[in-house]
Structure formats: C-alpha cells, structure tokens
C-alpha cells in the first residue's frame, strides 16, 4: 500500500476528489495547511506595520491506496490539480506498512 499525499490549491479540492473517485479511491483525509515555496505570498499593512505573509493557504490531501492504484491515483491528482502556474503543489508517495479499519478491524487493502 502507498500513502499518497498531495499539497494542492484549496479551490481544486473538489476537482481532485472527483478525479480520485473516478479511479476508484473512495476515501481521503484533508487538512488545511500553509505552504511555503516558489509561489510568493502577499503583503499586509496594518497602520504603519507591514507584514509579508509568505505562507500560502493550501490543502493537504492524503489517500491510502493499494499498490496497484498508486499510479492512476497520482496521475489523476496531477491532472485535476494543475493550473500551470507556480504554486500548484506537490505529490508525495510513501510506503504504507499497514492499514486498519477501526470499525471492523479489517486490515490491508480491505481496510481502504
């Protein structure tokens, strides 16, 4: 199994989720995160004080998937999340040793 983690633009979340559903990924977990990278942030000015807000709001999406689905899943994310402008985000793939479903205790691919 793999844990696929994608950092994407917030407004792309619905598209990515739909794309994943297409390739058969039925569950995901998302987190609101802030990202720092090439995409530059913005400046805020409060009375005299100027603050550079370097961190940009992003969504982190995690999906545990069976080996077999990993590539399709990555492609689906890349496609759905792309705008072509700096800041589109990343996809990370990590090995997942085990997965369990709390409700039933099922393990491995069955748990996903």
């Amino acid at each position: 199994m793999k844990l696929i983690t994608a950092i994407i633009r917030p407004f792309k979340l619905d598209d990515v989720r739909d794309a994943l559903a297409q390739v058969g990924v039925a569950g995901v977990t998302v987190t609101e995160v802030r990202g720092y990278g090439r995409q530059k942030g913005h400046t805020e000015l409060y009375r005299g004080a100027e603050y550079a807000v370097d961190f940009v709001p992003k969504i982190k999406l995690e999906a545990a998937v069976p080996e077999a689905l990993a590539d399709a899943c990555i492609d689906a994310i890349l496609d759905a999340a792309r705008t072509g402008k700096v800041g589109d985000g990343k996809v990370f793939v990590m090995p997942l040793e085990q997965a369990l479903r709390v409700r039933t205790g099922e393990m491995g691919d069955d748990a996903l």
Binding site: F11, D14, H42, T43, E44, L45, V53
Partner: protein, 469 residues
Amino acid sequence: MKPVFLRKMGAAVALAAFVLLPGAACAAQPDKGDTAWMLVSTALVLLMAVPALALFYGGLVRSKNMLSVLMQVFVVFSLVSVLWFAYGYSIAFTGGNAFFGGFDRVFLRGIADPARGEWALVSTFSKGVSMYEIVFAAFQATFAAITCSLIVGSLVERIRFSALLVFVVVWFTLAYLPIAHMVWFWPGPDAYTDAAGAEALNASAGYIWQMGALDFAGGTVVHVNAGVAGLVGAFLLGKRLGFGREALRPHSLTMTMIGASLLWFGWFGFNAGSALEANGGAALAFLNTYVATACAVLSWTFGEWLLKGKPSMLGAASGAVAGLVAITPAAGNVGIGGAFAIGAIGGLVCLWGVTGLKRRIPADDSLDVFGVHALGGITGALLTGIFNSPALGGPGSVTDWVTGATGYPGIAAQLLTQAKAVGLTVVWSALVAALAYKIADWTVGLRVNEEHEREGLDIHSHGESAYDY
C-alpha cells in the same frame, strides 16, 4: 397625527430662522422631546448601516471577502453622507420642479447661524410643530447613505472598490436624489392657510407626492430603489466564480444574526423617527414595526420549516429584515391589524423571493438585495395602499391640508397609485443604475480579475485579512 409620509416646507417657500432664546416659551420652537427623539432616531439609522447592515452582509460572504464588504458599506455610507451635506440635501429637499430641487442649501448654507444662536426650522406633519432643519437634514442623510449601502449586497465578492464608488456617486445623484424629491418633498402643513393657495402649494410638491402615493419611511425611495439597482448590477457584473458549482457558504451566520438584530433595533429610528415627532403617530409606527417584524420572523420560519424541512437561523434573520422592509412604507400609514398582515405576508413573499423567484433570475444577486429589499418593498408599498383604508383599521390620509381633513380614495384607487409609484421607481432606478455601472466600467473597470477574486478581495483590494485566530 397627519398619517402621511414626509417632509419639509421648501426653503424658498417657508423656511424661517428663529432666534432661540434658551428657556423662553416660544410656541414655534422645537419641542425638546421631539428633538431628543429625532437625534436618537438619526443615530439609530446610522447604526443600521454601520455596523448592522455591514455585518448582516459580511457574515454571508466567505471570510476572504469579509473586510471588503465591511469596507464597502463603511465607505459608501461615509461618502454618500458627505455628498448629501454637500449638495444632496439641497437637491432633494428644497423647491425646484417636481423631479429635482434647487441649490439653496448647498453645503447646508443658511441652516444655522451659530454666532447669533439662530437655527432654521422646518415643519413636521403637524401644523404648528417645527423641528430644527439641522436635525431633519441629518436624519435624511442617514436614509440616503444606507440606501446606497444596501446595493452593495448584490455586488459583493467581485466588484472593484473604485468602481463601486464611481457607481455610487452617479446613482446617488441621478436616482436617489430625484426619487426622494418626488416622493417626499412638499410645502409642509403650515404653508396651507387657505383653500386658494392650496392648489399651487400642492403643485410645488414632488411628482409622486402629488400622485398621492404613500411611503411612510422609504419603501420605494429606499428599498425598491436599492433593490432594483442591485439587481441591475448583478446582471452587469456577472456571477461570482464558482457560482452554482462550488459552495459559497456564509462564513459567519453569527455576524449575520447580529446584523439582523441591530437592524431591527435601529429600524425603530428609521420608521418611528419618520413621524418626525415623539407623538402618537410615532408610537403607532413603532408598534407596527415591532409587530410586523415578529410576524415575519414567524412566517418565514414556519414557512421554511414546512417547505424545506428545517427552520434556519438565516431564515429567521432574513424574515426579520423582510418584515422590516415590508412595514417601512406602511409604518404610520396602517393600523395594528395591518401590521400583523403585512409582516406575515412580507415574510412569505420574500421567502419565495430568495428561493423560488431567485432560481428564475439568471443573475447572481449574491445577498438577495432584490429578493428581500425590492420584493419586500413592493409588497409593503402595495399592502400600504390596502391597509391604509379606514375600513381596515388604517388612518387614511390627509386630503385637505388647510383643514386637516382625511380621507381614502378606495382600495383600488390607492393600490393603483401605489403601483404607479413603484413602477416609476423601478424604471428610473434601473435606467440610472445601468448608466452608472457603465460609467464605472468605462472609467475604472467594474470587476476584479480572476486571481484577485479567487484569493479574496481583502488581501488584494485592501491589503488585509479579516481574521488570524
């Protein structure tokens, strides 16, 4: 009480400045109770705009656009207030023709001579009862300013800030001012001393006033007027990105509820203050405002519960506003039974306005300025015509200002008059609004660009974020 709508004797006609001797008994001098009431009422209407309306609207947008909405209301309110004192008051409330007033009171000149302790006075609706013209001008300023602020609700989350300001200057000048003049300008009761002069005096009033249309506190001038201008804007601006696809959820219904509550509170100044005195007429307008709003909260809540399965807080708050809008033209023009009916009906009509009707209008009137304000205003204006009838507990209206005799032309006739007033307002406001948006578009561009809209107007237009928890 003279159970009619508004306003002051034309400056050119009968404006008189009295020397105010403190403590001296002078019949024509404003009553202190009236002055206290009108100052409070004026402050209450200001409260309705900032923060009430700003919060009511702001809570409904996404958090990335919160400040932009607050800012739009805050600055539009301030800008229109300044324009009002600069030239608006003069155009709306001094004599001219039936559509526009004159320039006698530009920058309020002549309204007071502090060095000599002299204050210009204007008539109320009661013969022999006057008020400080300063107070009248300030009270009316808040009406002009909140009307323009109302329009913001149709344009949020995408309009360019500078475009909004350009639009407002044009629309205020060419739509608000003439319509206020048409509806509310008249010579005042004290001018009517004998039957001979009455005809001429009548003819010096605003066009819609002459028609005999009733609008106690601004159903047409404020709500229909703004609601139509909003809808036109929604058409011309286009829909928000993601409209109909993404969830454009309110970011804080708590703020919306605070806004609605403060609107209710402030509206007592708006409606009961429009009596211009702390008299029985004000008391009636006050009670009617209370009753109608409570009824509209219930009718919307139960209506939504029945039709949609759950009664929502946004529904209850919207119901309150719907009731307030609907009772506005009626407040002092109908009896208590009328207020029950107008509130209950107003709530249901606007519920339909933001659900049923809205689906058929291919525009993103984002915060339902049309569905609530225009529709509620029209409903109220028409029902005013009906419940004004003495047969239905209403006061009728003064038919002869020399004797103070009242009458009622019959439901059909009054309804027709009301409909004409509404129709004229709708057309006038729509045309001027279209022009004003076009001017804004040509000069500064109406809408922000896509990235700007996507990331939020707060950061891009104003360089701030509303929240950092």
